[in-house]
């Protein structure tokens, strides 16, 4: 075991906690068998989890790098690996390798700026890492706005954390919305892109969008409509990552390799790429 | 993956004697998915079952493996147990460690090792089980009987008697079938009409029974309990509900030279006709190929003489759609054509006739009013030769005749011979036969009477040639017992023509997706155990459409078919076997391989719209399995090249998991 040393060879991870977030999303806490964090990472980076015999799959690391005890992954059920993980219980071992990809430029571009995070559905997972990182180093950043929407109240990820922690922070505003009216919901109803336009943010800030491709597209259009410059908008394409190391030949969008050049992209960079992401 | 509980049964010492049950329970603990494993003396006992129920609750089990006796023994028991514990009953798998392990192996180590492997296979399978729910479908409480001969009549009467509605579809203008054409019936010699016509009247008068005469089935859709049938009522140009059957029109009709089908063309009828006096319904029918009014628009006499005003030259074929829960096929038989049997001079001489023609000749209502007269000259025949097995048991001449035995000929020929000798003692009667087969109640006695009491001359041997010469028929034959050639100058030769299924049966079978054998007889669901059911659920067989039969056999089969129908119609809902095939339409090529091998016609095709990856939509043909019809054999799953078709409960992945577990 000791002499194996290749980027493709994983470590053992142990699932220590499984939290049911929504009907199809669970959040898994993972450490090494000796109880440590598997590796250090930066906000926006991903890790390859795998179940021997089932396969490998890439997930963004949901927990903040500032969490030095463990990593968390919010995983939506949508394939054989995720199906398997969803029926796993605490104590189950999996394998983990990473971190992969370029992180969000939290320490340079983001520093000192107002930040706007926009997420849809499970798209909050990659952003949670950044949001919590920025909350942890609260004084390094300006005002933080978070717009988050999902199909219904039950489909909102990290709801407790959002309500109990984020929205109570100073200088952090959380705007939640759901697609359709629902009993017991007195918040905003409507799609995220429209909500963003309604809210009409001041454009002197950095925006980060994550969610389903359509939602990203319309939100980006919405931001441009209200005067945002694409050079200030970031998103992540981590769904396109496969081997994690930029060699297997799948992740390229044009000449850019998501595994190496991304997954975090500035929207003006994306604009230059052929439309096949 | 499931949360599996493993329960190893000792079956007293039946299992525990050769299998270390604790070791099995222990070994299975580390199998994937297993969260609980135990053993017990009698798993099938109340205490054992309670143990399972408790474990399901305590360990939150989603799957159960019982290592015990054969699933043929207690699978049902443990499924009920699972259901009682709140699990889907199909989340149970049995590892057969008694019949297929402890009882056949002597050595404890061997037995234990194998039991563990069988247990692992069951665990591997149950991990891939999915809850199954038997499909339910409602039952239309009405039966359709296709064919109005004695088989159809008896079936219909029996079903109606149980209180269900029945429709009979008969292609002829009247019900009655072949039996109505017969004179006497063997072996009791009671007159066919005397026993049949009361039944026909019963049918007519039974308010649960509707008769669609002069009609045929043109389309069948649906499945057991829910057939949608289209019936074509041929235009008879007579308003059925108005016609009184008085017969005035028949007398006046100028077209009087139409060969009379009922008498097999031995006499004539009119263009408007009633097949016979006791016809049901007793309604006239205009033969459109003969009626000058219909053909040329001239005549109209029948309309003028009909006081009831029943004639309607403008009548059109009518299509009726009706729903049925069960369909009984009673399409009966016909004698085969004698065209290919020129050696008997059938086409050359009017005095060579078939046995059915002989029936009409001797029938009081027949063309000669019951007097046995030669068709050619109306003279009384003094020497009659009966030839048996004409086209039956024709192994060497399959293109001419049939390989099978027509079963009824031996007995009716004995009857004909006996009646002839009885009525006309001066007549010499020869019967040429291959074998005389009399395996029925009082049948052999009957035949012996013909020979012994009535002096019928039975000769084992075949007739080689019949040559008309003058007013005689020269019969050349061989006597196999005396081993000599015979030459007989006969006045009349009667051919016992083989019988074959009615020609309407083949297209009907296609409509019903009911299978047929190479002779076009309907096949039964099981030749021994389910003789009156077709493999297609909800389709039943009555009478000679399934194989040659005499009247008593037909009637008893008709009753049996009726009781099966009654059993079906008595249900409000049909609960299917949930282990049925199903097709993944995304993978399906629509190639029909599966439908080709389905013995039940459970697979149909539909054009479905699919969203293509490039966001366009395309229509593609895909297979659909009707779970109410599928019996779960799995033939289709292997015929399917793309693997789209799979069998619930015995899925590809499940069986492969078992293979893997056994071989690891």
């Amino acid at each position: 075991m000791n002499n194996i040393n290749d980027t493709l060879i994983p470590k053992i991870g142990v699932i220590t906690d499984v939290r049911i977030d929504t009907p199809d999303i669970k959040t898994f806490r993972v450490v090494t068998p000796d109880g440590k964090k598997a590796f250090d990472h930066r906000p926006g980076q991903c890790a390859m989890l795998s179940v021997p015999g089932v396969g490998e799959a890439m997930f963004s690391i949901t927990s903040s790098p500032t969490n030095e005890e463990y990593m968390e992954f919010s995983i939506k059920k949508c394939g054989c690996v995720t199906d398997w993980l969803h029926q796993a219980e605490a104590g189950q071992q999996i394998t983990i390798r990473g971190p992969y990809g370029k992180p969000f430029p939290v320490d340079d571009v983001f520093a000192g700026k107002d930040l706007l995070f926009i997420a849809g559905g499970v798209g909050l997972a990659p952003l949670r890492s950044v949001i919590n990182y920025c909350r942890h180093y609260r004084d390094r950043y300006g005002k933080i706005d978070i717009v988050y929407g999902s199909r219904s109240k039950d489909d909102l990820l990290d709801y407790n954390e959002i309500i109990e922690e984020w929205s109570k922070d100073n200088g952090v505003n959380v705007y939640l919305t759901i697609d359709n009216p629902q009993d017991g919901w007195d918040g905003h109803v409507g799609f995220v892109p429209n909500y963003v336009k309604e809210l009409g943010f001041n454009t002197n800030k950095v925006a980060v969008i994550c969610g389903p491709p359509v939602m990203i597209k319309f939100t980006l259009d919405g931001l441009c409509d209200i005067g945002f410059d694409k050079t200030n908008v970031y998103t992540t394409l981590e769904l396109r990552m496969k081997c994690g190391v930029g060699k297997c030949g799948r992740c390229n969008v044009g000449a850019k390799y998501v595994c190496k050049d991304g997954p975090v992209f500035r929207c003006d960079e994306l604009e230059e790429l052929p439309g096949e992401y | 993956m499931q949360r599996v509980g493993v329960f190893v049964c000792w079956c007293g010492s039946n299992i525990a004697g050769t299998v270390d049950v604790q070791a099995v329970a222990e070994a299975l603990k580390s199998e994937p998915g297993v969260v609980f494993s135990t053993d017990y003396q009698y798993m099938c006992s109340q205490a054992g079952q309670d143990m399972i129920k408790t474990a399901v609750k305590e360990h939150n089990l989603t799957g159960i493996v019982v290592c015990s006796c054969s699933p043929r023994m207690h699978e049902a028991t443990f499924r009920k147990t699972a259901a009682a514990a709140g699990l889907n009953p199909y989340m149970v798998e049995i590892a057969n460690i008694r019949e297929q392990c402890s009882w056949v192996h002597k050595d404890m180590a061997t037995g234990t090792e194998k039991a563990i492997i069988l247990g692992k296979a069951a665990v591997a399978k149950v991990n891939l089980n999915a809850p199954l729910t038997p499909g339910e479908s409602p039952v239309t409480k009405r039966a359709l009987v296709i064919g109005g001969g004695i088989a159809g009549i008896q079936t219909a009467l029996d079903i109606a008697d149980a209180g269900f509605e029945v429709d009979i579809v008969e292609k002829n203008p009247t019900i009655g079938g072949k039996m109505a054409q017969l004179d006497k019936t063997f072996p009791t010699l009671d007159c066919a009409a005397c026993i049949l016509t009361p039944k026909m009247v019963d049918v007519a008068q039974n308010e649960k029974i509707r008769i669609f005469s002069y009609s045929e089935v043109t389309d069948v859709k649906g499945f057991v309990g829910n057939f949608d049938v289209t019936i074509k009522k041929n235009a008879r140009y007579v308003k059925e509900e108005i016609c009184t059957g008085c017969g005035a029109c028949l007398e006046k009709c100028p077209m009087k030279k139409i060969p009379n089908e009922f008498n097999l063309g031995m006499d004539n009828r009119t263009a408007i006709y009633i097949p016979f006096a006791q016809a049901v319904p007793k309604v006239a029918t205009i033969d459109p190929t003969a009626c000058t009014m219909l053909k040329k628009g001239k005549c109209g006499i029948c309309s003028k003489v009909c006081t009831a005003g029943a004639i309607d030259y403008t009548q059109k074929d009518e299509y009726i759609e009706e729903k049925y829960g069960a369909i009984v096929v009673a399409t009966g038989f016909n004698p085969i054509s004698m065209d290919k049997f020129d050696e008997f001079a059938y086409s050359q001489s009017k005095d060579v006739i078939t046995s059915l023609e002989f029936e009409r000749l001797t029938n009081a209502a027949g063309p000669s009013a019951g007097k046995l007269l030669r068709p050619s000259d109306g003279k009384h025949p003094h020497t009659i030769v009966f030839v048996q097995c004409v086209g039956s048991r024709c192994e060497a001449c399959a293109e001419k005749g049939k390989e099978y035995c027509s079963k009824i000929c031996c007995m009716y020929t004995a009857k004909h011979a006996m009646l002839t000798r009885d009525k006309y003692p001066d007549t010499e009667v020869y019967v040429f036969y291959i074998d005389v087969r009399t395996p029925g109640k009082n049948f052999d006695e009957f035949y012996r009477r013909a020979v012994e009491e009535f002096g019928v001359k039975y000769i084992k041997g075949m007739v080689g040639k019949v040559t008309p010469e003058g007013d005689k028929l020269k019969v050349q034959a061989s006597d196999l017992i005396a081993n000599k050639q015979l030459h007989i100058d006969a006045d009349l030769v009667v051919l016992a023509a083989a019988i074959e299924p009615d020609k309407s049966a083949r297209p009907l079978a296609t409509m019903l997706t009911a299978s047929m054998d190479t002779n076009d007889f309907f096949t039964e669901a099981h030749p021994k155990l389910r003789p009156v059911e077709s493999p297609t659920a909800g389709v039943f067989l009555s009478g000679a459409c399934q194989g040659p039969k005499d009247i008593p056999e037909t009637v008893s089969q008709a009753g049996a078919a009726a009781s099966k129908v009654i059993g079906l119609l008595a249900k409000d809902k049909l609960t299917g076997n949930p282990c049925v095939a199903s097709s993944d339409e995304l993978m399906c090529n629509g190639c029909s391989s599966c439908a080709n091998v389905c013995p039940y016609g459970a697979i149909t095709y539909a054009e479905k719209e699919f969203r293509m990856p490039d966001r366009t939509t395309k229509v593609r043909r895909v297979a659909e399995v009707n779970p109410a019809v599928c019996q779960g054999c799995g033939a289709c799953t292997v015929a399917c090249p793309s693997g789209a078709m799979d069998l619930k409960g015995f899925a590809n992945l499940q069986i492969m998991a078992e293979v893997d577990a056994i071989c690891k």
């Binding site: - | 392990c101 090792e113 054999c633 292997v638 056994i662 071989c663």
Partner: protein, 144 residues
């Protein structure tokens, strides 16, 4: 008995209605056959996909036998006829590829033929034992 005697691994696919019942009857009558035979229950012999057979060989089986109702007795009327054609085609192909034909067999065993079941299995095990390990259709990754 020798200690390190070669034990073949035999996978038997038995149809639920006849052969599986025949195997049960062999049990009821305490008719011995080697424990090397492991039975997989299938509804009908026509459920046996050639892929299952190759899979068994891949995973280490030394012989595969398919048992079904006698021709004419299929619970589903025709399943065993299809099985017969399929297995004929497959076995012939395996033979063509030089894989020992003695490793595969199709037998008809009725529910009443417990003795035939046991005898067939005894015979088949003997036949496969004589061939020794399956080398021509093995997957080395699956070797223990």
């Amino acid at each position: 008995m020798q200690v390190n005697e070669y034990k073949p691994l035999i996978v038997a696919f038995c149809c639920n209605w006849c052969s599986y019942a025949g195997a049960d009857l062999a049990g009821n009558n305490r008719l011995n056959y080697p424990a090397d035979v492991k039975i997989i229950r299938v509804p009908c012999s026509c459920r046996v996909n050639p892929m299952f057979i190759l899979r068994a060989f891949q995973r280490g089986a030394d012989g595969v036998i398919i048992c079904g109702c006698h021709p004419g007795d299929c619970h589903y009327t025709s399943g065993n006829y299809y099985a017969r054609r399929r297995m004929t085609a497959l076995f012939s192909m395996l033979d063509y590829l030089g894989i020992e034909r003695e490793r595969t067999r199709l037998e008809w065993v009725s529910a009443a033929e417990g003795a035939k079941f046991a005898a067939t299995m005894n015979d088949f095990v003997q036949q496969v034992t004589a061939l020794g390990e399956n080398k021509r259709l093995e997957d080395l990754r699956c070797k223990k």
